[in-house]
């Protein structure tokens, strides 16, 4: 049992879980619209930040 759940295996499971969530999400929302993608840097963009943060309600 312990050989099967070595660190590399558990890490791959973590990556698989994250990839599955990403795939599930992309399947329901579709790919983002690149034409509305924000500029690379918020600083200097002239746009107000629109991202959500842990401190928000």
């Amino acid at each position: 049992m312990s050989a099967r759940l070595s660190r590399p295996i558990v890490a791959l499971l973590a990556l698989a879980m994250m990839t599955a969530i990403l795939a599930l999400d992309l399947a329901s929302t579709g790919a983002p619209d690149l034409f509305t993608a924000p500029p690379a840097f918020a600083l200097g963009s002239g746009a107000a930040p629109t991202g959500a943060h842990c401190t928000g309600s």
């Binding site: 049992m1 312990s2 759940l5 070595s6 660190r7 590399p8 295996i9 558990v10 890490a11 499971l13 973590a14 990556l15 879980m17 994250m18 969530i21 990403l22 599930l24 999400d25 992309l26 329901s28 929302t29 579709g30 790919a31 983002p32 690149l34 993608a37 924000p38 500029p39 690379a40 840097f41 918020a42 600083l43 200097g44 963009s45 002239g46 746009a47 107000a48 930040p49 629109t50 991202g51 959500a52 943060h53 842990c54 401190t55 928000g56 309600s57």
Partner: protein, 371 residues
């Protein structure tokens, strides 16, 4: 060895390129910032939960001092940056309240139980720690559940959002922040045993790199580094896929959150750095010749306790308006009063959690091991 390391680079660069192509340059850059966090946290063993335990149990203040140095470095740049670019950059400010304080206390206790905080849980899972993976699954569910009840917790009693900039202005607010950090550092030095005070070179480098990455996060995303929102959003996405109508909930019906639900997580800045962080920790573990031993085998009931602790960890982080990263690190470094209150409550909880761990988590006998 070569093939393994090549595959590590392929995974890291592949995800970065994927985000860049799918969601634009900001998404690609934020995955890179997250990768940097993962590489530094795992590669240089810079953590949050461990040092909070070490100062209590071993009178070792080196890790905690490194955290304070990193926060101070960010604050020195972030305060003037936020003041000069208020229209483009947002701080991590949140209200102090009863639910927030309770949440921070519980979070502190749980992070000692699973040996990982918000970032630590991602790092642990990415580097192949079984307890970390189970806790991460719980954290995702818990932070989503917490979002459903956040309004109730906030209604128990909450102050307006106060910041040190609001009290003193940006310049004096920064000085008060640095003085506060110096006070905590002084208390840490007083508590630490001789020989366990000065951080080693590794932690100085890590603190500087973490600060640089946190500032890069602020400049690119327009907001400070966070963890919890992204994990709660992942939980919300899973619930939505399962048929749950989140439009009927106050939190997810709010304008910004509703947008996050209808758009890909590749457009959510916190999710992008979380993805990068997980991959960065994975990369460090796979890069090493020896990935290291798995965590000590526990009884099945103890793994159940870890899952429950992960759930509570995520739930309490949502109650507390952030974890060690969003509330403590980013909150204090951008002037939030709630960051300081979070520190006091979470440290008290952490000290309690240290005592709780040996009671709830029991090593398995060899015959009944699950690891």
């Amino acid at each position: 060895m070569f093939l393994r390391r090549a595959s590590v680079l392929l995974v890291a660069l592949g995800f970065t390129l994927f985000a860049f192509v799918m969601a634009g340059p900001r998404a690609g850059l934020l995955v890179m910032v997250g990768l940097g966090f993962g590489l530094v946290l795992e590669g240089l063993r810079f953590g949050f939960a461990g040092p909070w335990r070490m100062i209590v149990t071993d009178r070792d203040g080196r890790g905690l001092l490194a955290q304070l140095i990193a926060i101070a470095l960010v604050a020195v740049v972030a305060f003037p940056l936020l003041a000069a670019n208020a229209g483009e950059l947002a701080p991590a400010h949140a209200p102090v309240g009863i639910g927030m304080i309770l949440g921070a206390f519980v979070f502190g206790a749980m992070m000692q139980l699973v040996m990982g905080c918000g970032s630590g849980t991602l790092v642990n899972a990415g580097s192949g720690n079984l307890v970390g993976l189970i806790a991460l699954a719980g954290f995702i569910g818990g932070s989503f559940a917490g979002s459903l009840h956040l309004g109730w917790w906030t209604a128990l009693g909450s102050l307006p959002v106060y910041s040190l900039q609001g009290f003193f202005g940006a310049n004096l607010g920064l000085i008060v922040t640095l003085a506060g950090l110096a006070l905590v550092a002084g208390l840490t030095l007083a508590r630490a045993a001789p020989g366990k005070r000065m951080p080693p070179r590794r932690l100085w480098i890590a603190a500087a790199l973490i600060a640089a990455l946190a500032l890069a996060n602020l400049v690119i995303a327009g907001q400070p580094w966070g963890i919890v929102y992204g994990l709660g959003l992942w939980g919300a996405k899973i619930a939505q896929a399962g048929g749950m109508d989140l439009g009927a909930t106050a939190f997810w019906a709010a304008e910004g959150n509703a947008t996050r639900l209808t758009e890909s997580i590749l457009t959510d800045v916190t999710s992008l750095t979380n993805i990068g962080l997980l991959i960065g920790a994975f990369a460090v573990m796979r890069w090493r010749a020896d990935p290291g031993a798995q965590t000590q085998a526990l009884t099945l009931a103890s793994y159940g306790a870890v899952l429950a602790a992960g759930l509570i960890l995520g739930y309490s982080a949502r109650m507390a308006f952030g974890c060690n990263v969003g509330a403590f690190f980013s909150g204090i470094s951008t002037g939030s009063l709630h960051g300081w209150v979070w520190l006091l409550a979470a440290f008290a909880g952490s000290s309690f959690g240290i005592r709780l761990r040996p009671v709830l988590l029991r090593p398995a006998s060899v015959k009944g091991a699950y690891a």
